[in-house]
């Protein structure tokens, strides 16, 4: 989230698209209701189903799963042709004026540089014209046809209301009404907030879905302001924290990347990261990357990281491919390329696409370790549970360890919520039986492995031996010690050149501004610097005071970066530093510095006249309507059909789905055709459940006891399916037998003149826990991910549905 949960109440329009906030985040959704009641806001919901969010919406429109880019491009087309953009904002705060290289083109669904052998782009042409001064060229008059804004206009010109309706199945009048509501927030003092979640990410074009809305928001001037922003509601309680700390194949803490094979040396690695500004006078904060990286290496390897060994650069693993993501991992397992897998609080047999493939992959492992408070399906993948898990135990040679862990109520620590707040929590009781904390288990493994390597030697023990482990109890480090390590500290006495204050070695850092690249500071996660300072645990702060009740609460817990609650908040003020919306200012220039209810996302003393853009993390200082080379599919979002689609891509029939999606051969042969699987299916959560956990909780099992699908009345009638009756839903990959909920909330959509039926598949049931046994919707879903992130395409695929009888067993 760029903003806070409470800040949603400042919105004039709330658009929920690519998510179902009321069901997935009820307590955050209260701020939408608050916006409606206190701010007269209009709630707009665009969703394939009439959800519980839609039930309290002012306006609802249906959309075919997987066509959000067409819808949003249509919105951009509307805004640009009807001149409903926030001109001053777009001109000053986005890259609309910058000129793009002449070689950059878009024809028949493909951007320039496509290689149809490798299914990837040479992104060389996806950039600005660079002048002799090394800065990007610009035309502030927007006369030059190569201006980003003009290229964008041209790009979205195909997305007329007729075309949007043809692709999305959204009736034109509904689409246009929503455009009008959205366009109203182009006024400087009005804001729209976009609330989205996995409804956008779980597509082969997931990242581009979000980009499309981010561009809409930039055109409207809604980023950085109160009641605006791009608000990813996110999933698990600490999914933000795990992303921040980089528990992803290619990540290190604080959004630093793991090196690749191409970056053979530390200098090589730094060269591609310390981005120089592309416009005059810009901050381009990533110029400080070396300070962050060195401080991380000092935190990780301590004395084993020195100038001489390039801060231990070779102690880090390097990647030969962009990602060893989970789809890749299961591909490798199925190919016999993996020996062991550890699932810590993760249940891939339920959570990952093409369940049959997941089960087969796990069966080929030598060992599987699960660490979980609950008895997960994954830990019992080898056991026969009837049709819901038809495993042949005796043929499966995998050794399985099921390790019991503590749960939230039984440990201290911090979690990062989607508004980037780090909040500390305390232990209330002991764990049941002899369950142990993850810290104890991971430390136990670490210590044992160290001992084994010490005794026996083995492959490259240096990183294992060099990893810092200076904890009071090395067998179960105290969470506070770890929090302090992430926050960082001085390793030597350092004198601040401005204030002349000397910080002693060992002093905790106050913020990432104190980082150095000479090894005098250590910080395990630079963006968390400031969370645990000499003043104490900032994450445990409990002052809920909220100036002007504008939803900032700056002294409650601590938010990264630097306790800032609204990202890019400099953009809440006009170029002169006055708030766009005088009723809800965030930060303003008072003549000598930036002040306000939030920590300015800006150099506090930087004058407005300095012309330093508000987006200080980017090389332009501006929001990007043109993404340069940062996306896999292209600098502008383009509508590509889901990998399994009921129709051809009417914009460019030859380029149907995402041309750069990574598809493994085995998976490609497992895609279904509309002839066999004529209905569009989508998967989702219900508000009564949290993924695959709450079926273990009796109350939640009572509230939604049994697996079902949602099907429109028209299709149910056609197929003779009764309300509450049994149905078989099948895809190319498997079948699910469950109950049917025949509903008015899903209506057939007219897509390119054809009635298209959508089937909804809630995901929550499996074969362990309290609720009734289910097959799991991931039995049906295709194993293919977003081209940038490899997030699986759970939201749009093809199925067939038939009436059947109850499963046996």
């Amino acid at each position: 989230m760029t903003n806070t949960w409470q800040d949603i109440k400042n919105a004039n329009v709330v658009i929920v698209m690519g998510g179902n906030a009321a069901e997935a985040h009820p307590c955050g959704f209260k701020w939408v209701i608050e916006a409606k009641i206190e701010n007269g806001a209009k709630l707009v919901v665009v969703d394939p189903r009439f959800t519980r969010t839609a039930s309290v919406a002012d306006y609802y429109a249906p959309i075919r799963p997987g066509t959000d880019i067409a819808f949003l491009s249509g919105v951009m087309h509307y805004l640009l042709t009807n001149d409903k953009i926030q001109h001053s904002y777009v001109k000053n705060y986005t890259n609309a004026s910058l000129l793009v290289k002449d070689e950059f083109t878009f024809t028949d669904g493909l951007f320039s540089g496509f290689n149809d052998q490798t299914h990837s782009y040479d992104k060389g042409s996806w950039d600005y014209e660079i002048g002799d001064d090394g800065f990007a060229k610009a035309d502030d008059t927007w006369q030059n046809p190569r201006c980003v804004i003009n290229l964008l206009k041209q790009h979205v010109s195909r997305y007329t209301p007729e075309m949007v309706s043809r692709i999305c199945g959204t009736p034109q009048d509904k689409f246009l009404h929503i455009c009008e509501l959205i366009a109203g927030t182009s006024a400087p003092d009005r804001a729209m907030t976009s609330l989205f979640a996995l409804g956008w990410t779980q597509h082969t074009v997931g990242a581009q879905n979000i980009r499309a809305m981010a561009m809409v928001q930039l055109l409207l001037g809604n980023i950085g302001v109160a009641g605006g922003g791009m608000n990813a509601l996110r999933g698990h309680s600490n999914i933000q924290g795990l992303t921040d700390i980089g528990l992803l194949s290619n990540q290190m803490p604080g959004y630093l990347n793991l090196p690749t094979d191409k970056e053979t040396s530390f200098d090589e690695y730094m060269k591609t990261r310390q981005f120089k500004p592309l416009r005059p006078g810009q901050t381009s904060y990533y110029q400080n990357t070396k300070k962050m990286t060195v401080s991380l290496m000092k935190a990780l390897f301590g004395d084993a990281a020195t100038v001489d060994n390039h801060w231990g650069y070779d102690l880090l693993p390097k990647l030969d491919i962009p990602l060893y993501d989970i789809i890749k991992a299961f591909e490798m397992m199925n190919n016999g390329q993996m020996t062991g897998y550890i699932c810590q609080g993760f249940n891939p047999l339920q959570a990952f696409p093409d369940r049959g493939k997941i089960r087969a992959g796990l069966s080929k492992l030598k060992f599987l370790v699960t660490m979980d408070p609950l008895d997960t399906e994954t830990s019992r993948f080898w056991q026969d549970f009837g049709p819901q898990n038809p495993a042949r135990s005796r043929e499966i040679q995998t050794e399985v360890f099921q390790l019991p862990t503590t749960c939230f109520a039984e440990e201290n620590g911090s979690l990062v919520n989607s508004a980037r707040w780090l909040q500390w929590h305390w232990k209330a009781a002991d764990a049941p039986g002899i369950a142990k904390s993850d810290l104890w288990i991971m430390s136990g493994l670490f210590q044992r492995l160290r001992a084994l390597y010490q005794k026996e030697g083995g492959a490259f023990p240096d990183a294992l031996m060099g990893m810092t482990w200076k904890y009071t109890d090395p067998w179960e480090p105290d969470p506070e010690e770890l929090a302090k390590e992430m926050n960082g500290k001085f390793l030597a006495d350092v004198t601040d050149p401005v204030t002349q204050v000397t910080s002693k070695a060992g002093t905790l850092l106050d913020g990432f501004g104190q980082l150095h690249d000479d090894g005098s500071t250590a910080s395990g996660c630079w963006i968390f610097a400031g969370c645990f300072t000499e003043k104490g645990n900032q994450m445990a702060r409990r002052d809920a005071t909220d100036p002007r009740e504008q939803g900032i609460a700056p002294n409650w817990a601590w938010a990264w970066p630097a306790n800032r609650r609204i990202l890019y908040n400099r953009a809440s003020a006009d170029p002169e530093g006055k708030a766009w919306n005088p009723k809800k200012p965030v930060v303003e220039w008072n003549g000598s510095k930036w002040v306000g209810i939030d920590v300015p996302d800006y150099v506090v003393t930087q004058k407005p006249s300095a012309n330093d853009g508000p987006f200080i993390m980017t090389v332009e200082g501006q929001g990007r309507l043109f993404a340069r080379n940062l996306m896999a599919e292209g600098p502008f979002p383009e509508h590509y059909e889901p990998m399994e689609s009921p129709v051809v891509n009417v914009l460019h029939p030859k380029v149907g789905p995402n041309p750069v999606a990574r598809v493994f051969d085995h998976d490609r042969s497992n895609f279904g055709k509309p002839g066999d699987f004529p209905y569009v299916a989508t998967t989702y959560r219900l508000t009564e459940h949290f993924h695959y956990w709450t079926k273990h909780a009796l109350i939640n099992a009572i509230l939604q006891p049994e697996e079902f699908i949602e099907i429109g009345e028209a299709l149910a009638k056609e197929k003779g399916i009764d309300q509450g009756g049994w149905v078989k839903v099948s895809s190319k990959r498997g079948e699910v037998v469950c109950k049917a909920y025949v509903t008015k909330r899903i209506k057939p959509l007219m897509v390119d003149g054809k009635a298209t039926h959508v089937i909804g598949c809630p995901i929550h049931w499996g074969f362990t826990g309290q609720a009734r046994k289910g097959y799991g919707a991931n039995t049906l879903t295709p194993s293919v991910g977003d081209a940038n992130t490899q997030t699986p395409e759970f939201k749009a695929f093809l199925v067939n549905v038939e009436k059947t009888s109850a499963p046996v067993g």
């Binding site: 009321a22 069901e23 009820p26 307590c27 959704f29 209260k30 209701i33 608050e34 409606k36 009641i37 009439f50 519980r52 969010t53 839609a54 039930s55 309290v56 002012d58 609802y60 219900l686 508000t687 009564e688 009796l698 109350i699 939640n700 099992a701 009572i702 509230l703 939604q704 006891p705 049994e706 697996e707 079902f708 309300q723 509450g724 109950k739 049917a740 909920y741 025949v742 509903t743 008015k744 909330r745 309290q770 609720a771 009734r772």
Partner: protein, 305 residues
């Protein structure tokens, strides 16, 4: 635990004595359910089960999000869902939290034959005192909203207590506290009525011309009230009664009839007694015996050959 110590009852089932009411100026409380803010998440149901330690059986999916499928002895509140296509052809998903309405004139209490099994506190909460419940099910017949349910295990009647244990110590009911969107509010009844009025203005501005408050006068108002977008048609909300009232059958049965019947029986007994002391027993005399003997003899003679 003698509840008779309480001076806070204003009504008490099957009690011919007026309850003590020295403290008769307590604020009336009310729960306001604003269905236009309700997202049907069932947090109220979960919180109710958790706080009150209720765990009904795990049921089945039966073609709706309504689970459990009905109110029950351990289901004191239940979200009800209705997919309604309005006059404009647009879908509205009308979701209502069902449960005890805490009527000012409670039909359950009126029907209850067990003294003190149902009470109404001065703040308006209608509570079942299970210890005194005899499980006859009369409250089920008396309720205009079809709320109480009799347990098959202990044969006692159960329903929402409005978390009287929480309210007593100054806390709001569990469902109110949990409700993520503030669709359920709690406070003095007058405050809730003001709150509702504000909401109705907003709803009318959003095109719901018939928005209104559901506080049915037929039961002298309720301590659980709804803000409805379609207050003209409460029955759209999964059968919320348009005009809830204590059934005339129950009124007749529990009203004038009972004292009349008791009086009639008493009169009959008294009448018999006075008959006895005025007219006296009808005895068989020696003359009767003599007559009988005579007739027997005569018959014998007649029959003699």
């Amino acid at each position: 635990m003698s509840d008779m110590q309480s001076q806070d009852y204003v009504r008490r089932s099957a009690s011919t004595m007026t309850p003590p009411s020295a403290r008769n100026v307590e604020d009336q409380v009310a729960k306001l359910i604003d269905v236009s803010r309700c997202i049907g998440c069932k947090a109220c149901q979960a919180a109710c089960m958790e706080w009150n330690n209720l765990r009904p059986e795990i049921g089945h999916f039966e073609g709706s999000y309504e689970n459990p499928n009905d109110l029950g002895p351990s289901v004191w509140t239940l979200m009800k869902f209705n997919e309604y296509e309005n006059e404009q052809g647009n879908l509205e998903w009308l979701i209502r939290k069902d449960g005890c309405m805490h009527c000012e004139d409670p039909g359950c209490l009126k029907a209850c034959p067990a003294p003190g099994a149902i009470v109404q506190y001065a703040n308006g909460i209608v509570d079942f005192i299970s210890d005194k419940c005899i499980g006859c099910g009369y409250c089920v017949k008396g309720c205009p909203f079809n709320i109480p349910r009799i347990s098959k295990t202990d044969h006692k009647s159960y329903k929402c207590t409005l978390c009287s244990d929480r309210v007593t110590v100054g806390l709001e009911p569990a469902c109110v506290k949990a409700c993520p969107t503030g669709a359920i509010m709690f406070g003095a009844k007058t405050d809730m009525q003001h709150q509702a009025a504000e909401r109705i203005v907003d709803l009318k501005a959003r095109g719901f011309a018939h928005a209104g408050l559901y506080d049915p006068p037929e039961v002298q108002g309720t301590h659980v009230m709804y803000v409805l977008h379609h207050a003209d048609k409460p029955s759209l909300y999964s059968g919320l009664p348009d005009k809830p009232h204590i059934s005339t059958l129950v009124q007749a049965w529990k009203g004038l009839y009972k004292p009349l019947a008791v009086a009639a029986v008493a009169l009959a007994a008294i009448g018999a007694f006075f008959h006895w002391i005025t007219i006296g027993p009808n005895e068989t005399t020696e003359e009767d015996e003599a007559e009988a003997r005579r007739e027997m003899r005569e018959t014998e003679e007649e029959q003699a050959p």
